[in-house]
Structures are given as C-alpha cells and as structure tokens.
C-alpha cells in the first residue's frame, strides 16, 4: 500500500504491446469461471479475486488495465473496492465495469458515484461484454497517450526553465560584468531580457571616457541569447584596450557575420563619451532614436542611420559616427523597441512621439528617468512592464569622468611618439575613383597607433577633406543642405560636378612631432578652388545648432587649433594627443 500511495510510482505499460489485462472480482465461483473463459478466449489476460479486499490487493500487485467488479461481495463490497482502486490508480485511467444483477437506479447511481465507468447486467452476453471492454480500452489508450504527452511536455518545460535559469546566471556574469552601476547611469533591464535578445553594456574607457551599447538581437529564446556572449566579450575587451566604438562595431559585425544565420541580425546603438564629457559619439544601426535632453529642456533626436550589425560584410559597413557636442547636465537616453512598442490595454502603441513629448515636458531633469518609467507603467496599465523594455539614461557629468584609470592592462598602446610626415595630392581622376580617408587613417594608425583617437581624427580629416572638395573644388553651397529637398539636390549636384571636374587638385599633408609624452599632429589641406568666406561660418557653436552646418565649429572643438588662410583654400589644424609636458616645454 505504501507504494500505492504514490500513483506516479506505478509502472505504466505501453499500450498496444501485450494483451489487455483484466481483473475479475466476484465471490461467485461459477460467475468467475464463465467470465474468465469468455475473456481468455477473446485473447485477454485474466486474473481473478474472490472479494473486494483481494481485488484491491491484486490491483496493486498485478496492475490490470481494466477491472470487472461484482457489487455484493464479502469482506469488502464492490463499491468500496472500486473507490480504493480508483484512488490507487491516481491519474492513471483504469476503467472499472460493475457486474450487477441490480436494476434499481439508486444502486446504479452509486456505482458511478464511487468511480465506476460502466455496468454489465447478468446474464452476460459475450458480444456486449467484448464491446464494452474494447470501448473502454480505446478510451484508456487515448487517456494514456494524452497523459504521456502531458508529462513529456511538463518535463520539457521544467528542463527548459531550469536551463534558462542556469543560462541566465552564466550569461549575466559574462554579459553584465561592466560598469552599468556607474553613478551617472540609470537603467532598466529585465533579468530575462537576454532571452529577448536585449543587451545593455557599459564600460569605462582607459582614458576615462565611457562606452555604452544598447542592442537587440532578432528572435527570441536561446537563438537570441547566444550571440550576446561574443558581443559582450568584444565590447569589454576592446574598450579596455582603448579601441574606439568604430573599431568595436566593425569587429562585432565581423564576428556576427560568421556566427549568425542570414536572417538573424543585431540592432545596436553604440555611444562613446569622451574623457572630458564634452563630446558624444554615436553609431545607431537599427535601434530607435537616441534622445539627448539638453540642460535647457530641448530634446535632440538621433535616428538610426545605419544597417544593423551582422547584415553586410564589414567592407560595406558604414562605420561613420555622429559627433555631437554635449554639456554638463545633458541627458542621453537610449531605448529598446519594446519601449516604443509598449501597448496600452486598448492596444495603442506608446510610440516615439509620446516618448519625446514626455522627455520634453519633464521639468525636473533629475526625475526624468523615474517619471518616464511611471508614465510607461501607467500606459501599459497595472504598472507591469514587459521583459523586452530596456532603457538607459546617461547623465553628462565631467566631474565623474575626470580621472582616467591610473594603470590599465592594455594589450594595445600608442607607439612612442615619432617625427614623421606624409603628403598626398589628389587630381580629379583620383578624386573620382578613390576615397583617400580610410587609406590615410590606416597609415595614421599604423605609424602612431592612435586607435583611441580614431573617431576624432577621422572627423577632422573628413571635414577638412570634404570642405576642400565640396566647397573648394566643386563650389557647392552648404546652405542647400538645410532642407531635406536641398539635401538631395546637394548630393545630386555633387555627383554631377565631380563627374565633370577636369582640373584642380587637393593636397593633404600630415606632420607628426613628439610633444611631452604624446604628440602633435598638424593637418594641412589646400585646394585650387576659389576659397570661401570662412569668417562667416566661424559663428560660435552655440548659435549653430543645425546639424549639417556644424563642420567647422566641430573641427574647432576637436582640434587644438584651426586656421584658415589665403582665400579660405588653405587650412591648418592641430591635434594633440597624450599627456603634454609643461607649457614651456610644449613649445
């Protein structure tokens, strides 16, 4: 009986194997003989019991598939034996057919009440007996199959949950080992977010700046989670070695191209704050707009302008970052699409417009993050936010970032400063067929190992070069770019004029000289064009917020010095890196 208390411990026979086992409980010797003869002849395996007690015991030891039960028996009557057998069977379905001469309805009802499944009235008809047994046997097999499948499903689910819990712990250790706890960061990330493919990483740069990445793998479950490990590995490893976000995203892209199937990709926004917290660099490939809430309450929206990672080969990947001026107190907000697509009980989407409006309206910058979470909670109703809502707020705070880490393990460092120079001259034919910037950047990196300055240097080169080409040689008016239509017109004109360009050239010269423990880079760019009124575009940055008119003010903010001369066709930019010597030694 001890064994019988646990229905799960009863071994279950496979259906369709050996013949159906029928237990006959009847105190009448003749009845037992007749039934046994009929059933044995029909191919059933038969066992008999002479009273209710014996039936219960044999049920436990012999485990029949079906029981034929007389009602009036000594020791234990059929009702009670059936009740006990049903209890022993637990959630196994073992049909009990009552054998009865009774015809009063109350007695028959009692048979059902104790768990009986059918009746058979004496005298027995062989045909009806077999029909009833076979009908119940079909039900029993169906029941068995369903139970088997249910148990299997429940088992799978338990294992999956267990595996998820283990995986979540392991993944969380690898993926979230960074600096999300920095005091300038507020964030929301569900522990199960990894299984939605969401990831949020932050790491301090050796120079004192900060890298943040908010990303979203397509898909759900393990296939979405698996990619997070190499991505986190690359992000932390390369940040620690001083690489810029441009290098990091290119490496992540390479890795994902190899490991992800074609239809899976990784949308990501990479954010780099420089050591002084005056410049924000952003690369947004497939994530919702990143917002900057300025100290005065204005909100800039920075939409995705790149393909997600893992879609195209790295040669085709546009690693151009946006460089944006920021000030103390500015707040940078990045979101997963779960935030934008959060739905109200009526099915309305939260949407970007509502989000931007909410961020704009918040009077108290300090309360922005918590207020936003409350608004979202109210919107979806009940304050319960889903697993796929991830967001981060980074407060620009130069005080936090002022101290670079004293000594960091870095496999990569700038080379000892050397004295060198290079010059390149590009005529129309060359300008049409090659982009000299990657080449020059490559040389710069190889010669001096300035990976940490890569984005800034690229921005400087890019601006100087495109000013010389677009405005110098091609005489394009940047005012055109102020409107979307003009923007398109600008690039059409640019293409036309470049194709027709038949004279002129651009000279680019880079000189490097050691200075203190770092170096000084001098970029000189000269073109044969008519020049331009450089005084006019030298308006202070604060008065020049428009996105595309920023070239020169941006250059001024990155470079230590920027000087136009001649008719505006000759420009020199100075860029210092590394620690500088005392002012008198710097010369």
């Amino acid at each position: 009986m001890a064994e019988g208390n646990n229905p799960h411990s009863l071994p279950t026979k496979l259906p369709g194997g050996a013949s159906t086992r029928v237990l006959i409980a009847d105190d009448d010797h003749v009845n037992r003989l007749i039934l046994k003869a009929i059933l044995t002849k029909e191919g059933y395996t038969v066992e008999v019991a002479e009273d209710g007690r014996e039936a219960v015991v044999k049920f436990g030891s012999w485990q029949p598939d079906l029981v034929l039960m007389d009602i009036m028996m000594p020791v234990l009557d059929g009702y009670e034996a059936a009740r006990q057998i049903k209890q022993l069977a637990g959630d196994r379905f073992v049909p009990v057919i009552f054998l009865t001469a009774l015809s009063d309805e109350a007695a028959l009802a009692r048979c059902v009440a104790v768990g009986g499944d059918d009746f058979l009235t004496k005298p027995y008809s062989r045909v009806i007996l077999k029909a009833k047994i076979d009908a119940l046997e079909r039900v029993r097999r169906l029941h068995y199959t369903l139970r088997q499948q249910r148990d299997e499903l429940a088992g799978h689910q338990r294992r999956l949950l267990q595996e998820h819990q283990v995986a979540e712990k392991v993944l969380a250790k690898i993926v979230h080992s960074g600096n999300l706890d920095a005091r300038q960061i507020k964030y929301l990330l569900s522990p199960m977010a990894i299984f939605n493919g969401d990831m949020l990483l932050a790491a301090r740069k050796p120079s004192g700046g900060l890298h943040v990445m908010l990303g979203d793998f397509t898909g759900h479950g393990l296939s979405a989670a698996i990619g997070t490990v190499p991505v986190a590995d690359i992000f932390y490893g390369m940040t620690d070695k001083g690489f810029s976000i441009g290098d990091i995203l290119a490496t992540i892209n390479d890795k994902l191209r190899v490991i992800l199937p074609t239809d899976l990709f990784f949308a990501a926004a990479l954010i780099e704050l420089d050591a002084t917290h005056t410049k924000l660099m952003l690369w947004n490939g497939g994530m919702p707009d990143v917002l900057i809430r300025r100290g005065d309450g204005r909100v800039d929206t920075l939409p995705s302008d790149h393909l997600p990672l893992g879609v195209v080969e790295s040669e085709q990947l546009d690693r151009g970052v946006l460089v944006i001026e920021i000030e103390a107190g500015d707040r940078i907000l990045a979101f997963s699409d779960g935030v934008i697509e959060a739905r109200s009980p009526e099915g309305r989407m939260f949407g970007l417009e509502r989000l931007v409006a909410r961020v704009t309206q918040e009077a108290e910058a300090e309360a922005l993050f918590d207020g936003l979470l409350r608004t979202l909670g109210d919107f979806v109703g009940g304050g319960e936010l889903g697993d796929d809502l991830s967001l981060i707020e980074i407060t620009c705070d130069p005080g936090w970032a002022s101290a670079p880490r004293a000594e960091v393990p870095r496999a990569f460092r700038p080379r000892a400063p050397m004295r060198w120079s290079l010059a390149i001259e590009l005529v129309p034919e060359a300008l049409r067929s090659i982009d000299p910037l990657p080449l020059v950047m490559h040389l710069l990196m190889d010669l001096q190992g300035l990976q940490e300055h890569r984005e800034q240097l690229y921005a400087v080169l890019m601006e100087l070069f495109s000013n010389a080409l677009d405005h110098g040689l091609l005489r394009l008016d940047s005012a055109l770019k102020q409107t979307p239509e003009g923007f398109i017109r600008y690039y059409e004109l640019r293409k036309q004029r470049l194709a027709g360009l038949d004279h002129g050239c651009i000279r680019l010269e880079i000189e490097h000289a050691p200075e203190g423990t770092g170096g000084l880079l001098r970029f000189t760019v000269e073109d044969d064009g008519a020049g331009f009124d450089y005084a006019e575009v030298f308006a202070p940055l604060q008065e020049n917020r428009s996105f595309f008119g920023r070239g020169i003010p941006l250059l001024r903010s990155i470079c230590d010095r920027l000087e136009y001369s001649g008719s505006g066709n000759h420009v020199q930019a100075l860029y210092r890196w590394g620690r500088h010597g005392p002012p008198d030694a710097a010369g």
């Binding site: 074609t262 393909l307 879609v311 195209v312």
Partner: protein, 101 residues
C-alpha cells in the same frame, strides 16, 4: 491567403504579395516562395499593400531572399509600404539594401 506568388509571363519578375501580419508565422511559406525559384536572375517585388504589420523576423526573411537572389546583385523592390512598415524599414536602414517605394 496571407502570401501569394505571381510570376510574370517571361518568369523574370516574381511578385510576392503579403496580406495581414508579415511575421514569423509566414517564415515557411516565404522561404518556399523563393527557394525553388529557377530563374537565378529574377527580379523580386514584395507587395505590402495588404500587410498591416511587420516584425524583425520579416526583416530576416527579406535578408534571406536577398541572399538567395544574389546578395549585392539582388534586385528586390518593396512596394506599397504603409507608414508604419516604412518606419520599420527606415529604422533598420533597409533602404540601403532594397528598393523601397
């Protein structure tokens, strides 16, 4: 029919029309739509006039089609996008890979 396929008479243009939700449920059908394509250099038109929604797995399916149709040489136009679908394509910058109209 959530997905129908039409071939031009010369077999050079394959038009795939999606109705309703363009999401993971269409994965099998969508794959079949181009897996047996015989014309290696066929042009594809994805008509989304009747599509009301598109998720990231739909973007993945488009990438599969692009690869199948020759990668960078693929000629795939996505037409009749609703503003909502256009927004999804814009955020992912799929305009750089497909002709979106």
């Amino acid at each position: 029919m959530p997905l129908t396929i039409q071939r031009s008479e010369d077999g050079r243009v394959v038009t795939i029309t999606i109705t309703g939700r363009f999401d993971f449920d269409l994965h099998q059908e969508f794959r079949q739509a181009f897996e047996h394509a015989e014309e290696e250099d066929a042009r594809y038109v994805i008509d989304l006039a009747q599509a009301e929604y598109m998720d990231s797995s739909a973007l993945g399916m488009l990438l599969l089609l692009r690869e199948r149709a020759g990668g960078d040489r693929a000629d795939i136009a996505i037409v009749n996008c609703s503003p909502a679908i256009n927004k999804i394509l814009t955020i992912s910058n799929f305009h750089k890979l497909f002709k979106v109209a």
